[in-house]
Amino acid sequence: MNLILHVWRQKNADAPGRMVRYEARDINPHMSFLEMLDVVNQGLIDKGEEPIAYDHDCHEGICGMCGFMINGVAHGPERGTTVCQLHMRHFKDGDELYLEPWRSRAFPVIKDLAVDRSAFDRIIAAGGYISVRTGNAPEAGSILVPKEKAELSMDAAACIGCGACVAMCPNGSAALFTGAKISHLGLLPQGQPERDRRAIAMVVQMTKEGFGHCTNVGECEAVCPKRIKIEVIARMHRDYLRAALVGD
């Protein structure tokens, strides 16, 4: 199949960017979107043009490195899918696609489709951990976790930190991401000692990084490749409020 791509090319954070038109020819429909881009890049290298920069790593939908907008939708048209797991069979021969980087004040463009998501790291560093001393192996089962809580926590832990939620949100809010991390730890007994401190520290950091505020639009949930539920945002607000009012 053949496609027309319009790709955002931007040399670095300070240079102005623009859309450039490319043709992707003889694409095998079983290829992933990234494999298709590799074909385009190989053609560019052959012509002596710099290849399109984009982030990626595992190609299995589990690491959170990949991601860009395809026709205005984060990670493209398939639900619950990262671009590395999006396959060309979902497109039609002759389709015209517009590829752009995540756009958010807190995610400056590094080059082309690659953006700097270190703001997420700083949110995690602010409180996304537990600091119990590990010592020797504790006996499994000495801390009981109700199955329902374990499942909810596990669902939240599925967040891979890709940033699609921010990119799709009209407010550029990181509430889904931060809510997922706060839920993941706050639902487990091991996460209780620091629960109040964590909620406040992570929410404060999120605001400092320049992410917008959540107004319950719900676009984040719709594009999240890990199908994180918007409930995590409610949980984050609840934890924050509780900590602010009665926390230590």
């Binding site: 040399k11 670095n12 079983h30 992933s32 590799d38 190989q42 290298i45 052959d46 002596g48 043009e49 710099e50 290849p51 920069a53 299995e60 939908g61 398939e78 619950g80 899918t81 797991q85 999006l86 396959h87 069979r89 590094i110 080059k111 690659a114 590990t134 020797n136 192996a137």
Partner: protein, 355 residues
């Protein structure tokens, strides 16, 4: 796909060569559940090296499935009947979804098609019991070090080692190192820093100045094919020698003809990849050298010359019961082999049998 799927999936190929019927149309008595047939005690749960080798063997015989012939079926039909869809969903939902995404086929109705790939490096960087490498103060943790691996990688071993190293060992050993070592303040004007900086800069310049005709990826792919062919699931002395002759040639070509565009002062993924692929030549060569030196079959290392009459891996404990610690002696020099004997006090190695 994840190895955990073998807990409930059954692996099979058609009995007859060139049988192109859809899997659902092949009656049960015309299927060969080859792992269950050959290893009745362990069935589909034999270790990964045994499972991989047998899958490769049936495909080499011409009984592989799918358009390429490189595939065997991983079938959940009986598990779905026995346990119901809800249980299978709970256990493997994410993996089934991943499979459906990649292939566009529904694994709930048609069996998955899988093919093994080699897990090339069973080892990693040498470390001592505290996980410190030969460079003082440089600790190597998780799968990157060699310490917890035998001749096979096992399911979830990456996770296990990451947790064990990070949870139980490092909190004690790194703290001890930091507390008991005197550190002098080192500036970036230090001679060692200067020389490494110059070396890195020269290497970067060199890669950018080659301005050859072939992309980094094309070399990467060619190297991968070479290693896949000669140092893959089955190896022979002859094949390994061929690889050892071809890798240096390819490396030489690389440093003459690779095309890395852009510059070295900003984000440049091609340049980054070029540095890595440059290193892969060394690693590939070392793997082949090590595989050639180890004149026995052991775990994932299957030397075709060394097998039992039934085609199982044949070890030679008398001569090879050691870890090969290869010492880097500078680029372009052959590495030196240090043998670290394996001593078994309580459990002694024996010929494996999964019959």
């Amino acid at each position: 796909m994840s190895e955990s799927l073998r807990n409930d999936g059954r692996i099979w190929v058609p009995k007859r060569k060139g049988d192109t019927r859809a899997p659902g149309e092949i009656p049960v008595d015309e299927r060969d559940y080859f792992l269950e047939r050959k290893y009745p005690a362990f069935g589909n749960l034999v270790p990964r090296d045994v499972a991989s080798r047998n899958a490769k063997a049936v495909c080499d015989e011409g009984r592989g499935v799918g358009p390429s012939g490189y595939g065997v079926y991983l079938d959940f039909r009986s598990a779905l009947q026995r346990l119901g869809r809800a249980v299978i969903d709970e256990r493997y939902g994410n993996l089934f979804e991943m499979y459906a995404d990649i292939t566009g086929e529904d694994p709930y109705t048609a069996p998955m098609r899988i093919y093994p790939a080699s897990h090339y490096t069973m080892g990693g960087l040498w470390v001592d019991y505290n996980l410190m490498s030969t460079v003082p103060g440089l600790y190597v943790i998780g799968e990157a070090n060699f310490s917890d691996h035998g001749a096979n990688r096992l399911g979830a071993s990456a996770l296990m080692q990451g947790l064990a190293d990070g949870y139980f060992i490092l909190p004690n050993t790194i703290g001890d190192y930091l507390a008991t070592t005197q550190f002098e303040k080192i500036e970036t004007t230090h001679a060692a820093f200067r020389s490494v900086e110059a070396e890195v800069a020269a290497n970067t310049r060199r890669l950018l100045e080659i301005q050859g005709t072939r992309s980094v990826d094309s070399f990467h792919r060619e190297l991968g094919k070479l290693v896949w062919e000669h140092c893959g699931m089955g190896r022979t002395a002859e094949g390994l020698k061929q690889a050892l002759a071809k890798i240096p040639e390819l490396r030489e070509q690389y440093w003459k003809d690779v095309r890395v565009l852009g510059d070295g002062d900003e984000f440049n993924q091609s340049l980054e990849k070029a540095g890595r692929v440059g290193d892969f030549f060394e690693l590939a060569e070392l793997m082949c050298r090590d595989a050639l030196e180890r004149n026995e079959s052991c775990g994932g290392h299957f030397r075709e010359e060394c097998q039992t009459p039934e085609g199982e891996a044949l070890r030679n404990d008398a001569e090879y019961s050691y870890v090969s610690a290869w010492e880097f002696r500078g680029a372009g020099n052959a590495p030196a082999l240090n043998k670290e004997p394996l001593e078994f006090e309580y459990v002694h190695p024996s010929q494996r049998s999964y019959k």
